[in-house]
């Protein structure tokens, strides 16, 4: 009887350990900290660092976009929070926006971030209620970034010099 119990424990333990190894190779953590974060994500207890998020927001409102993005990246190290990813994309948009031309590199990075936000919010329920922002949803922000990356004859229109950053 005892031997059978040990066999069952062995089978369960082997399956759990093997699943853990497959999961490690699938998620490819870069450090022990990443392992802990990925575990939190897998078990559904992952939360962003609110203090760092607020620091990022303060920097964003002071137009210090790079510093804001760094704070938000640290706040959401697993890139699992749609709201934080939306703000990161917005920071790319505002930094890349120019009266004469848009910075394509920053807009491309912004598009990647807003796509992450959309993927994390498949029901499209995210509406960011921030009075400092004129774009409130990831879909609107995505459209704005995509328009900025397109090249057309409208880019030569002189009235574009009078447009406003959102």
């Amino acid at each position: 009887m005892q031997r059978k119990s040990i066999q069952i424990v062995g089978v369960v333990w082997t399956l759990v350990y093997a699943s853990f190894i497959v999961w490690i190779y699938a998620t490819e953590p870069r450090s022990f900290k990443d392992v802990a974060t990925n575990t939190q994500v897998a078990t559904g207890i992952y939360e962003i660092n609110q203090e760092k998020f607020n620091n990022g927001l303060t920097l964003f409102r002071r137009d210090q976009f790079r510093a804001a993005r760094e704070e938000w990246a640290a706040a959401d190290s697993a890139q699992r929070d749609p709201r934080t990813q939306f703000y990161i994309a917005y920071a790319y948009y505002r930094e890349g926006w120019g009266r004469v031309y848009y910075d394509r590199t920053l807009f491309t990075q912004g598009l990647a971030a807003v796509n992450r936000a959309i993927n994390l919010d498949p029901n499209r329920q995210l509406v960011v209620d921030d009075p400092n922002l004129q774009i409130r949803t990831p879909a609107e922000l995505k459209a704005e970034l995509e328009q900025g990356l397109e090249t057309s004859w409208r880019d030569l229109n002189p009235s574009r010099l009078f447009r406003q950053r959102k």
Partner: protein, 230 residues
């Protein structure tokens, strides 16, 4: 006393051996980046699965694993399942042990893979017993470990030591485009290989059965011989 022995044997066979083999599978693909000291997990390339298959055939041919006793219709389902998982763990541990000592990319990757394939293929037609096979495996992995983690990694060493000079001379004119890893990678690989060999040492050709072991049977016979009148 007998209960303890039987329980410990069962723990070793059903828990410790799969754990050791799976730990080899975990560590075999782990590298440490030389630049930022981050983990890099390398999944086993297809060629390591082929090599693991060849080595598994060798285990069976040499009698290191007697499949008829490991998987049988006469055994309970749980025992068969447990044995199947241990054999799978052995297969993936073997693949990852090869992964651990194979250069990741480039010409040297294919040269190492070719020599492994050559050795294992010719061994298929040699006569082996389990002990000789184990010695052969230790030499095979030991040589590959020294070549990869001591000889070739010396090329990336910051100080210009004698090993680096020798390695640079031997590999002159050969494009060595393998990624540079931190020295800790060598330690991880060494630990993985030691665990693999320990796992092989612990695997019995014929798995334990419930009831007294052959050693215990001999002990009973000794008792009977010392007191023939009883």
């Amino acid at each position: 006393m007998k209960d303890y022995a039987e329980r410990n044997r069962a723990l070793l066979h059903f828990v410790a051996v799969p754990t050791i083999l799976l730990t080899t599978a975990l560590l075999g693909g782990l590298r440490i980046d030389a630049q930022n000291r981050q983990f890099v997990f390398t999944a086993p390339p297809l060629v390591t699965l082929v090599l693991a298959t060849l080595l598994t055939f060798l285990f069976v041919r040499a009698g290191a694993i007697d499949l008829r006793h490991w998987l049988s219709v006469e055994l309970p389902a749980v025992t068969n399942l447990s044995h199947l998982l241990t054999l799978l763990a052995l297969f993936f541990a073997t693949a990852q042990a090869f992964n651990s000592v194979l250069p990741e990319t480039g010409l040297l990757h294919w040269m190492f893979a070719f020599f492994f394939l050559w050795t294992l293929w010719t061994n298929q037609f040699s006569s082996f017993d389990p002990r000789r096979l184990l010695r052969s495996i230790i030499v095979l992995f030991g040589t590959a470990f020294v070549l990869k983690h001591l000889f070739m990694s010396a090329l990336y060493a910051p100080d210009k030591g004698w090993l680096r000079t020798i390695a640079a001379t031997f590999l002159q004119g050969i494009s060595v485009d393998i990624p540079a890893f931190a020295p800790a990678t060598g330690y991880v690989s060494f630990f993985a290989l030691v665990l693999y060999v320990v796992g092989l040492l612990l695997i019995a050709p014929v798995p334990i059965r419930s009831g007294p072991s052959p050693i215990n049977k001999l002990a009973v016979n000794d008792d009977a011989l010392s007191h023939p009148g009883e």
